[in-house]
């Protein structure tokens, strides 16, 4: 008697477990699909880019604190020059064939960034050349 009862109960539990498992498996499958689709789609790599950003802020923090105060003006000039690396975005805009608004914007941005790149590095060089030791 008891043994059959237990067997029946065990089968019921097994059924319930199976029923419980189905939605879980379904959810797991769905999650998997989402993960696959998101890793292949661009734009969802925000966390990846943000990681780079935060680490670069830390590098900047430690590197800049080690700059001697006497060279803070050249530091400003050179950071100004290197922030013109934004020219990368301008080149991509100005790069395609044909004419459209984006290309004109890119062209203007190339000019502006070039003023900065040449101006920034040259003025930094001029400043640094003046720092001399005792003769």
């Amino acid at each position: 008697m008891n043994a059959t009862n237990i067997a029946v109960k065990a089968m019921k539990i097994a059924d319930e477990l199976h029923n419980l498992y189905l939605p879980v498996a379904d959810a797991a499958q769905k999650t998997n699909n989402i993960v696959i689709s998101s890793s292949s789609g661009a734009g969802d790599n925000f966390v990846f880019l943000f990681t780079i950003f935060v680490l670069a802020v830390f590098i900047g923090y430690y590197v800049v604190w080690s700059v001697t105060p006497a060279l803070h003006s050249p530091l400003m000039a050179i950071t100004n020059a290197i922030s013109s690396v934004i020219i990368v975005g301008a080149l991509i805009a100005a790069g395609p064939e044909g004419w459209n608004l984006a290309k004109i914007f890119g062209f203007i941005a190339v000019i502006l960034a070039s003023v900065n790149i040449f101006g920034g590095f040259i003025v930094t060089q001029r400043m640094l050349q003046m720092f001399r030791q005792k003769r």
Binding site: G60, V67, A109, V115, G120
Partner: protein
């Protein structure tokens, strides 16, 4: 070129930029640092030119030639005393190019792989609008800072009632526009973001007075970096993100150092309204006695001394007196006087401004010391020669709790046996605060143009050689 090769070259370029900043830890390695910076830029540009989407080079070459020629001419011609306004002007260009790149990404998102016109990814739209906003604020803010430094716009803080409320309102409006753009990709929203940000840039900088310009210039330096990083997020470009973060943190640290040098909080500088006005308390004190002297007296006092410390300030830069000053110091050195220079962190109109001017006048950098390095030496110094500095040598900052500059670190000039102060008149400094140093019986005032005064002292020193 494969995508992974492109990414590797961008990484190499980023490393070069980090090395460029690292080089500035000492004047010896600094020139190599600049070469690293140039190398990083060359790698970045040529790697981009090799991208498959970049096929038409005519406009690019033309743009680089135009921009490069303008930049080269300006950089070669600029006087070192005008560096702060040059840097401010350059910051404005970074800001404006960020706006144009964002605009290009908005109208041609395919080129950057962030979707199609009318169907740009929401995340990209948010990043784009943030990059645009910071870029536009940097642009107009830097132009106002340039105007103030160049003397086109009054250095006085421009304040009006409800100013902070207006800025806050515009800020909230801007946030709403970013949401609108993200939801709707509306062209109207994009251009409204540009316009409101341009306006905010003006409004943020106009209330800030001339003396706070070192903070403003550093702050805009920081903004130009964050703008580049914002564009980097939009374009999913790690190089732009890394460089933006480096520049952004560099400017932030410089702003912090400048604020600390004035004992001001960053917030109080940004809120503005400080300096430029003569405080009413100085009236009625005009009858106090000051000891006046001539160039010949100053020459005599200094050549009798064994140690002299020179404290230069913005007045030296304005008068272009650095060369005559260095000549004076050299003559004193030939007479066996030990001459050193003491630089306050906020002397001049940008961080490190005085160091560059003294370097221009061939002063060896070992003789130029920072506040922390030299402040204990004043007590054992015979003569201090203050030229064009005022608030940075004001002892009231240490003793007078009612003073507007109370708590600001100052050079302990009053501890020296004798202080010579070169000044155009008895007008107060940029903080509008009275300086008790000028009325001390150990102080001799030398009224006149800083350059003329140095030249006259040089003549006296030369005369006494015969």
């Amino acid at each position: 070129m494969s995508a992974s090769l492109t990414a590797s070259l961008y990484l190499l370029s980023s490393v070069c930029f980090i090395m460029a900043l690292r080089g500035l830890s000492s004047p010896k390695s600094a020139r190599i640092g600049n070469i690293y910076g140039i190398a990083g830029m060359v790698i970045a540009v040529f790697t981009t030119l090799a991208l498959p989407g970049v096929i038409s080079f005519g406009m690019i070459v033309l743009g680089v030639l135009i921009g490069g020629a303008i930049g080269t001419v300006i950089a070669l011609r600029i006087e070192m005393t005008a560096l702060p306004q040059l840097v401010a002007a350059f910051h404005s260009l970074v800001g404006l190019s960020a706006v144009f790149v964002a605009g290009a990404a908005f109208y041609a998102p395919e080129a950057y792989g962030i979707g199609h016109a009318g169907n740009i990814k929401t995340a990209s739209l948010v990043e784009m609008s943030i990059g645009t906003a910071i870029g536009a604020i940097t642009f107009t803010g830097s132009i106002i800072a340039f105007g103030k430094l160049q003397g086109i716009v009054s250095g006085r803080p421009l304040v009006f009632p409800g100013q902070h409320l207006v800025n806050l309102g515009l800020g909230i409006f801007l946030a709403a526009l970013v949401i609108w753009l993200a939801l709707d990709e509306s062209q109207t929203a994009f251009w409204l973001i540009v316009i409101i940000s341009l306006l905010l840039g003006i409004l943020i900088i106009v209330p800030i007075g001339g003396a706070d310009m070192p903070v403003v210039v550093s702050m805009l330096n920081s903004y130009s970096g964050w703008a580049a990083a914002g564009i980097g997020f939009t374009l999913s470009n790690p190089l732009l993100i890394i460089v933006g973060a480096l520049v952004g943190s560099s400017g932030a640290i410089l702003s912090y150092i400048m604020c600390k040098g004035m004992n001001r909080s960053f917030i109080s500088v940004i809120l503005g309204g400080f300096g430029g006005e003569i405080s009413g308390s100085s009236e009625g004190k005009e009858d106090r006695i000051v000891k006046q002297g001539a160039a010949a007296d100053a020459a005599f006092i200094m050549e009798q001394a064994t140690t002299v410390i020179i404290v230069p300030g913005y007045g030296m830069a304005v008068a272009q007196a650095q060369h005559s000053l260095a000549e004076m110091a050299n003559l004193l050195g030939e007479k066996g006087v030990e001459v050193r220079y003491a630089i306050h962190p906020v002397a001049g109109r940008m961080p490190g401004h005085m160091n560059v001017l003294l370097a221009e006048a061939n002063v060896p950098y070992e003789n130029v010391l920072e506040l922390d390095e030299i402040n204990h030496d004043f007590a054992s110094t015979e003569v201090v020669f203050v030229i064009g500095a005022n608030d940075t040598v004001n002892p009231a900052a240490k003793t007078d709790k009612s003073s507007a500059i109370y708590g600001m670190p100052v050079l302990n000039v009053e501890e020296a046996q004798t202080t010579l102060v070169v000044k155009r008149s008895m007008a107060s400094g940029y903080a509008g605060v009275d300086n008790p140093l000028f009325f001390s019986d150990k102080t001799m005032m030398l009224f006149g143009d800083a350059k003329k005064m140095c030249e006259d002292i040089v003549k006296s020193l030369q005369g006494s050689q015969h």
